[in-house]
């Protein structure tokens, strides 16, 4: 098998990563879980960051639950989470719940409209942290601490929002006893993990410029890295904050902000660049050896009407490596030059040490919303491989010499309507890489619709404007297992179209050394698949599985947790 091809680098990444997370515990003088994992050992008893570690692999070395016994997986507990300002004390017939701690700058929470309303039912779509037997769960404007052994809610924090697009809160970051959460109205909120009391909140992006902040902050050393989304015409940025004070440490803009910027040649003007998007709204991965944080950026703006932004539009739809200490860019690779379809390349990059072309390499893998899979050298940014995982590629004119897909302008929005994917071929729900199978698992979303150019103003459009959509129809989603060495799909499993946003986005992946891949089908069933071939081995019908599964051990039992809407489910083996 391929196992021998992999050096145990992941353990090193994980161990150093944990040191990074907890290094500040002592400095801050709090009783931290520094003993949670001795250096060199994988953190199998916690899930301390967005991806469980810094690699983005979402692979667990745990084997207690495995192919042979997963059929005996059973429910340990459920936790149904109530949101809003008065979730506590739900009357004499409600289960006891703690009082809600309320924060926020708004006098009253603002109800936003549309599909992504702030008043939408609670849906846990992001990562759940688990440290020292406590789960930290978030949804837009809400955070909870939950006892990881019982599912009991320990505290609940509610943020009164000023508004902002509420799509999905993607999770929290942790530094010792300090939690960090982004809010849709652009604050970084730090909570005391023990009590849920607010330590401070800081404005991290301009609400007036229509930013919305929903990424999971990630803590690396004494840096809290924060990004934001924007569907208007604003400049994307990654920002680093001090975990103790919340002070801004550095800002890395993802589009040129001044004359002389080396990327300015990829824009027609500085004005276009400064309104060019490239937002940072999905948490990246970190390589402790090089101190490089690697993340993907979003689409250029205006999104669909590219008039006025001729050129490649760097660094939008780009994989970027930044030195965490200085905030300086080390390398970049643009996975979608001059995107015209709102196909972000923000998806989680996955750090892997493995053989490539017969040589051990330090790699980064990414599957992007434009339907392509990329392999790069993560130290230098050298391009190694591009393949298309999407079943349809009529929008691509060619792959250029650098392996970049170059679009066919005929598939841009057009007056008569252009048939394309309206939502892209994969989205932010994270992929997984299993070093034992050498397979990269992702959700390929296959839907089509017509994109009409409707802008009459010769000056072009703003933001997502200037187009109309129509005729969207989904063929469902496909879980694909890609051999990272060839980019070829080794196995795949198709599911029918799911309902609502969960169906549109699909759910993320978790793979384990037990030979399992956990994910949802079209949304109803939470399924354990054989990681080698996609055979379903166990399932539970949770309806509307809304986040990617996670796993860890507590009291020598391996748990698998997953959320469906407002409920977190914990499974372990029946004994």
């Amino acid at each position: 098998m391929m196992f021998g091809a992999f050096r145990p680098a992941r353990c090193a990444v994980l161990a150093v990563g944990l040191l990074g997370v907890f290094a500040g515990t002592t400095a801050a003088g709090t009783a931290g879980p520094a003993a949670a994992a001795p250096p060199g050992a994988p953190a199998t008893d916690s899930w301390p960051t967005y991806s469980g570690d810094y690699s983005g692999q979402r692979f667990s070395p745990l084997i207690q639950i495995n192919r042979a016994n997963v059929k005996n997986l059973t429910l340990a507990w459920t936790a149904r989470l109530a949101g809003g300002a008065d979730s506590g004390g739900g009357g004499p017939f409600a289960p006891p719940s703690p009082p809600t701690i309320v924060g926020g700058e708004a006098a009253e929470a603002v109800v936003t409209g549309g599909v992504f309303s702030s008043a939408a039912p609670i849906s846990v779509r992001g990562a759940i942290l688990q440290v020292n037997g406590v789960l930290y769960v978030s949804a837009p404007d809400n955070a909870w601490a939950v006892d990881a052994r019982t599912g009991t809610v320990i505290w609940h924090y509610y943020w009164k929002t000023k508004g902002g697009t509420h799509t999905a809160n993607k999770g929290m970051g942790l530094y010792g006893d300090w939690l960090f959460m982004e809010t849709a109205d652009d604050y970084l909120v730090s909570l005391d993990a023990r009590t849920g009391e607010e330590r401070w909140h800081k404005e991290t992006a301009s609400f007036s410029e229509q930013f919305f902040s929903e990424a999971a902050p990630i803590v690396i050393g004494r840096h809290v890295l924060v990004g934001a989304g924007n569907d208007s015409d604003a400049a994307g940025a990654l920002r680093s904050f001090d975990p103790e004070t919340g002070d801004l440490q550095w800002t890395l803009h993802t589009v040129p902000m001044k004359e002389g910027d080396p990327a300015l040649g990829s824009w027609p003007s500085l004005d276009a660049a400064r309104h060019g998007g490239g937002n940072v709204w999905v948490t990246g991965s970190y390589d402790p050896e090089t101190h490089l944080y690697i993340f993907g950026t979003g689409n250029p703006t205006p999104a669909y009407v590219p008039r006025g932004r001729d050129g490649d539009n760097l660094y939008t739809c780009t994989l970027v490596a930044v030195d965490v200490e200085t905030g300086k860019m080390a390398w970049h690779y643009q996975t979608s030059p001059h995107d015209t379809h709102d196909w972000d390349s923000a998806q989680t990059p996955v750090i892997v040490d493995a053989d490539f072309d017969g040589k051990p390499r330090k790699l980064v893998l990414q599957a992007t919303r434009n339907g392509h899979f990329f392999v790069l050298d993560r130290v230098t940014g050298e391009h190694l491989l591009t393949s298309r995982f999407a079943k349809w590629g009529k929008w691509v004119k060619e792959l250029n010499q650098s392996g970049q897909p170059i679009r066919d302008p005929a598939k841009d929005a057009s007056v008569g309507g252009s048939l394309v994917s309206l939502d892209g071929w994969t989205n932010w729900p994270p992929p997984s890489f299993n070093p034992q199978t050498g397979l990269f698992y992702l959700r390929d979303l296959e839907s089509y619709g017509l994109l009409y150019y409707t802008e009459k103003d010769p000056r072009g459009a703003m933001g997502l404007g200037g187009v109309a959509r129509g005729g969207q129809v989904s063929l469902g989603s496909i879980v694909e297992a890609i051999d990272y060495r060839t980019g070829k799909v080794v196995w795949e499993r198709s599911f029918g179209p799911g309902q609502g946003l969960v169906g549109m986005l699909g759910t993320g992946m978790l793979s384990t050394a037990g030979g399992l891949l956990f994910t949802a089908d079209s949304g109803d069933n939470f399924v354990a698949f054989d990681a080698r071939n996609g055979t379903p081995l166990w399932h539970s019908r949770l309806h509307g599985v809304s986040n990617a599964a996670e796993t860890y051990t507590l009291d020598d039992r391996q748990y698998v947790i997953v959320a469906a809407g407002d409920t977190v489910y914990a499974f372990y083996l029946y004994e």
């Binding site: 603002v110 109800v111 936003t112 409209g113 549309g114 992504f116 508004g163 902002g164 301009s206 007036s208 410029e209 229509q210 919305f212 569907d231 208007s232 015409d233 004005d271 309104h275 079943k391 349809w392 005929a410 598939k411 057009s414 008569g416 309507g417 048939l419 939502d423 839907s447 089509y448 619709g449 017509l450 409707t454 009459k456 000056r459 703003m462 933001g463 404007g465 109309a468 129509g470 005729g471 969207q472 129809v473 989904s474 063929l475 469902g476 198709s494 599911f495 029918g496 179209p497 309902q499 609502g500 169906g503 549109m504 089908d521 079209s522 109803d524 069933n525 379903p536 399932h539 019908r541």
Partner: protein, 290 residues
């Protein structure tokens, strides 16, 4: 997978397709965002990025001052013009509260970029801010667009495709289900439905009112169950049987044997293969069926 397992082109029930077209039109209409009226009123409920309400009188004054002093370069709608940038997306303007930031720029000018100094008051700037902030951007700013404007194809070629390569006439008839279809639907709805089969929701999942997929299940005992499919995945299949009863059966691998016929399959099979030109030509042909 089996949900796509229907083969061949089944006859399309005329009545249900027409019903579907109507349902979809209504659904589409419900999702149209009304253009925000502007006018500096308090943010309407549902705005994602509400601003504090501004005084309508200030908006009116600001519009006047703007048109005299600013619109030549920045456009009468503030979206840019002769040399001046689009102010609606300017961070200075967006982050301005009551004219204070705009005032600073007006006072100093941007001589290097060709903007002169303006001898206006802070009150003028506050009015200009009120006006510019009253112009909707983002979700509320979508312009109405004419669904008739999308017809770009060649009707003669569309006719040839309808009866020839497209095999449309195997299910549809201009004397039957498609009689006068061009007068019953606007061109965009018509074209959207060529792609979707008029059977999918906004996000692409099947509408509950989509024409039923029929299913034939052969149990290991040899018993055959037939009905309309409700749902199917790797573990369960639900159907309404011929007697109108809902039945749910467990599935394991290939058992029981399931055969599905989806009357929309021809539309689904086209998705990976469409040429935009053929879609446009078909539309041009069908809109003529008045």
């Amino acid at each position: 997978m089996s949900w796509r397992g229907g083969t061949g082109v089944a006859a399309l029930a005329t009545v249900s397709v027409l019903a579907l077209l109507r349902v979809l039109s209504v659904e589409a209409a419900e999702h149209v965002q009304p253009a925000t009226a502007g006018g500096g009123q308090a943010s309407t409920a549902g705005e994602d990025f509400p601003r504090p309400p501004s005084d309508p009188a200030a908006v009116a004054r600001g519009k006047q001052v703007f048109s005299v002093n600013c619109s030549f370069c920045h456009g009468s709608d503030a979206r840019g013009g002769e040399g001046g940038p689009n102010l609606l997306r300017s961070p200075i303007v967006l982050n301005d509260r009551n004219g204070e930031a705009i005032y600073a720029v007006m006072l100093a000018g941007r001589v290097d970029k060709g903007m002169p100094k303006f001898n206006l008051t802070l009150d003028n700037a506050a009015d200009i801010a009120a006006y510019v902030h009253s112009i909707p951007i983002g979700r509320g700013a979508r312009e109405a667009f004419d669904p008739k404007s999308i017809v770009v194809g060649d009707a003669t070629a569309g006719r040839a495709y309808f009866y020839g390569k497209g095999h449309c006439s195997q299910c549809h008839s201009l004397q039957g289900d498609f009689a006068h279809i061009g007068s019953r639907f606007d061109p965009k709805t018509l074209q959207d439905n060529i792609v979707s089969g008029a059977a999918a929701t906004m996000l692409g999942a099947p509408l509950p009112t989509a024409p039923p997929r029929t299913v034939t299940i052969t149990l290991p005992s040899g018993e055959v169950i037939q009905g309309n499919l409700i749902s199917i995945d790797d573990f369960n299949l639900s159907l309404t049987d011929a007697a109108g009863n809902r039945r749910t059966l467990p599935r394991e691998g290939d058992r029981p044997r399931v055969e599905i016929k989806n009357p929309m399959q021809a539309h689904l099979d086209m998705l990976r293969n469409w040429e935009d030109r053929d879609i446009h030509n078909l539309t041009a042909f069908l809109v003529k069926q008045q």
